[in-house]
Symmetry: C2
Subunit: 213 residues, 2 copies
Amino acid sequence: MAHLQRHMVVTRRKVRAGQYLYRNGQPFRALHFVHAGFLKTCELSEDGREQVTGFRMHGDLLGVESIGLGAHTCDAVVLDDAEIWELPYPLVLDALQRIPELQVRLAAALAEEIRRDRVWMLVIGTLPAEQRVAAFLLDLASRLARLGFSARHFILRMGRADIASFLALKHETVSRALSHLEKLEYISVLRREVRLLDIPKLRACVGTPCTLQ
Amino acid sequence: MAHLQRHMVVTRRKVRAGQYLYRNGQPFRALHFVHAGFLKTCELSEDGREQVTGFRMHGDLLGVESIGLGAHTCDAVVLDDAEIWELPYPLVLDALQRIPELQVRLAAALAEEIRRDRVWMLVIGTLPAEQRVAAFLLDLASRLARLGFSARHFILRMGRADIASFLALKHETVSRALSHLEKLEYISVLRREVRLLDIPKLRACVGTPCTLQ
DNA sequence: CGAGTAGTTGATGTTAGTCAATTGACGTGG
DNA sequence: CCACGTCAATTGACTAACATCAACTACTCG
């Protein structure tokens, strides 16, 4: 998080589920701070292929990937009614001038984004389907925990198809992986309601020492 | 490219093939501008899995993913003898203060990195093996072309295993894909020497209109 | 020259994808 | 309120793509 929203006047914008916050090709005029709600970002190809590249929630900054360009290069789709704080890009540039510390914070936020993406490349490149799904659940859980929500019990805001796209799988495969993790009693899952029953075992299966909980 | 190296004293460093430029966990002290040579970056997991996240050549800036941290979070391995210009991070911060334009350039360079990574997520998430390999060759070709080298004829600086890791495949699959593209007469390949014989057809098979050449 | 490494290719195995049927939730309008 | 249509999710049967294992070749470098 870049703390940018503390140093300028922001426009608060409510966006309903199903709406686009911005779309590929639209002019890039602002960064967007997610104050509430839930979104996904999608990369698009010329021939209509689509890849979910991430899920965003409170505290996340959207649109940074378009810095230096005139237009957005991906879609941001609201999955759960959101309140977005718009940080007009000219004001951002202003603030960066006035408060030198912000420069470093912004660069750090961008760098963190790169690191996050690369960790997912590692997950997708080296783990089989079920373990990717486990990694996804653990990531979601730890992000929710950082916001003060329960890490053990939560509602998925996205459909199986979105999870599948993000993990480079098909939705049937995600569904089977969830069912199997349930049979192992690592989780319980009913439609979009998820409970993590055995976090250490989940973490073991994605090859990381248990730090969450 | 961030033009940073034009605004400060840089240390020039020769690094031989096989050496690490930096390793996961080492203190982060500088950004690295690739003046010559060829490198790969690798993301590592706690349990020893490894993922190649990119290949770098002249004009690329390395280490940006560690901005905001005290230590590097990945490995940078030299594949072909390199000359690296070190930009000590304190001097970078200095320059950002002195030359406000650089802030924007650095942020833009970081944003470009994010966009690049996301395009590869799209490739890996939506294209089958052979088309990933075609996309890889076309990307390499266009980067070489931008540097004034031939886009139609070049030497791969990395092994099949590195290409495979980058594309989330196995090295045998890459080998077969290359052989098949050769049988189709889209390319010719002998060990590491590659010729692109039919760029439009290669581009068609990755689903992008033909812009290269 | 000989060992070691990188690449290719073939045979076989496994995982995830495809296709299809079914169930359950939700929303609308009769 | 219930019937209906729609959409999301699950599950099964089958298939295809890629991985695995193994043999072999050809460079590379002491």
